[in-house]
Amino acid sequence: MKKRTKITIAVAAVVVALAFLFVVSPLNQQKVRAAGERKPVEGTVSVLAVWGGHELDVFKEMAKPFEEETGIKVSYEGTRDINAVLTTRVQAGNPPDIAVLPGPGKMAEFARAGHLVDLSTVFDMEKIKADYAKGWLDMGTVGGKLVGVFAKVAIKGLVWYNPHALDDEGIEIPENANQMRAISERLSRQGKTPWSIGLESGAASGWVGTDWLENIFLRQHGPQKYRDWYEGKLAWTSPEVRETWETWGEIVANTDTVYGGKQYVLSTNFGQAAAPLFMDPPGAYFHMQASFIQSFIKKQFPDLQPGEDFNFFGFPPIKPQYTDAVEAAGDLVGMFNDTPQARAFIRYLTTPEAQSYWTSGTGALSANRNVSLVFYPDVLSRNAAQILQKAEIVVFDASDMMPGKMNNTFWSAIMSYVENPARLDSILRNLEQTRREAY
């Protein structure tokens, strides 16, 4: 063998030997919390959620006092792909300690499979019941056990408007759906489109439409039927459901009533769909959206003042017996691994102190009624918080309550309907078929 080859082989052997030694040596302990491993004493709690951007900054600020006081490190992992990551890790046996659940539907699935810890063993239930209204706690309960609590919430079904535009037209805030319809017709006759709607939202395109339908349904048929609906006990082809779709159709399927026609509705991202309200002259006058749209409006139009340049009123009642109804949604948090660190953190998360970070930092609302209104950054979020606290009828976002497949089909159905409203029959039939399979 040539000398050069001998040397090469020798070098290779040495490198391999070193490599082997290094890899197996105890020096190579760089395992990370992501594996969900437990460390003794101070330790770490791993959190998996969808929060990013500014939300993430707020979360980190919120976690700081906790870390300083307890010495427990909060290890956060963020992903928009929460379904994929969470499902995979749960199935493979290394779930995060704490995770924001994709929705009550998913939460129920995890709970029934036995993956979620019963939080009544973790919380001081007296305190929790004092802080949170029964409705919120019920939402996080599966099979009698509390498995999820709300980190932050929002109201869905606020009608946003531009006060200047309304003043110019001499429009008064409607007190019920009939008045709303009258205003709408008046504007259409003048060649103006009253509503602006934007459905696009990446993977979840169509959810804005589901909010519309939920708010209409709630006020047409009441909370009992609403519950039947998301529990899968009401057929999609039933007259009640059909009536709700057709009511919405009067607004969205009509080029005279919605800005930009169906192309605009389908292709505009929900975060920018309020923009026509602030055009000169206004492209639209009303925009139905959740409380969190505020931050989007501020981003796109930094000079607008909340309250003066944009404001909201509650979704107008349709049937008088269902007034003061509110639809809410929020980030549900559950615990997968019962560790002392996780217990401490989830207890901290639900305190008014921790919640106040969310409210003052992001303008989100808190389900904890002991968060002082002082912690809401402006008049609009304070109003929203008050609406939430005073509402007689509070229901949760129905589509979030439905099983994954039903939810997805609902979103696509919205898109299909706007694309071609004449196909309502077959759309409803398809939804009905999914209902039979998904529940």
Binding site: A34, A35, G53
Partner: protein, 289 residues
Amino acid sequence: MNGERHITGRVIRFVRKSLIHLILLAICVIWLVPTLGLFISALRPRALILNTGWWKAFDAPLRFTMENYLHVIQQANMGRSFFNSLMIAIPATVMPILVAAFAAYAFSWMRFPGRDVLFLMIIGLLVVPLQMTLIPILRLFNSLRLTGTFVGVWVAHTAYGLPFAIYLLRNFIGGIPEDLFESAFLDGANHVQIFYRLVLPLAVPAIASLSIFQFMWVWNDLLVALIYLGGTPDVAPMTVTISNLVNSYGGGWEFLTSAAFISMVLPLLVFFSLQRYFIRGILAGSIKG
């Protein structure tokens, strides 16, 4: 008469040359415009991106800003993520090469029962969707305590890249003229020598192509790193940190414009540096040598 043909020849060559340039430039422009749009947008203030087309950036008043880039770079952990991305991508690019080359050599120049079927099965593995492997492999990693380690994610990426690597290298190595081998054997060379002295050098363009693609795929990967390695700041690659720029409602996506360019720099560098291995005649040269 010769003079006429000469001129006609020149005209034809000129037209041909112009046509080549025309087509090529047209294609280049079409390919460039989308990226150019993003590049300009990344330099504009957020409000303008959302309300006007990017070409309006050249209308007075000119309002360019580095705020998008600065926000991304100053993002907590961006430096560490860059390091992590390198830490993941470089070994994951290097490791499959020799493994695939061995296999490709065997498939090309050794005969054994089941050779063709086995090779077809490897091509078949190209189509395995990543998502179907996540749960079984994560379970395996969990039991081997490889979750959250760089070693784990290297091995995973190596495995995911092997089918394509073997396929591509097999094609190149199989294309080496048989007489080269015969003369080498006549000279008394054994397989190891032939592999390292003849096959590998000739396969350099293929290895270079392979490296470019594997590096890029690993560099731009999000899901594999997230699942096997985790998204915590000490191990998160750039893709994870960038995705955290966007909040759960999708707000903040304008930062993706600048993040995309920051993230693009390295793969492009890799592309350029490996380009010199695409030299015409590298095969022809060795025939003479």
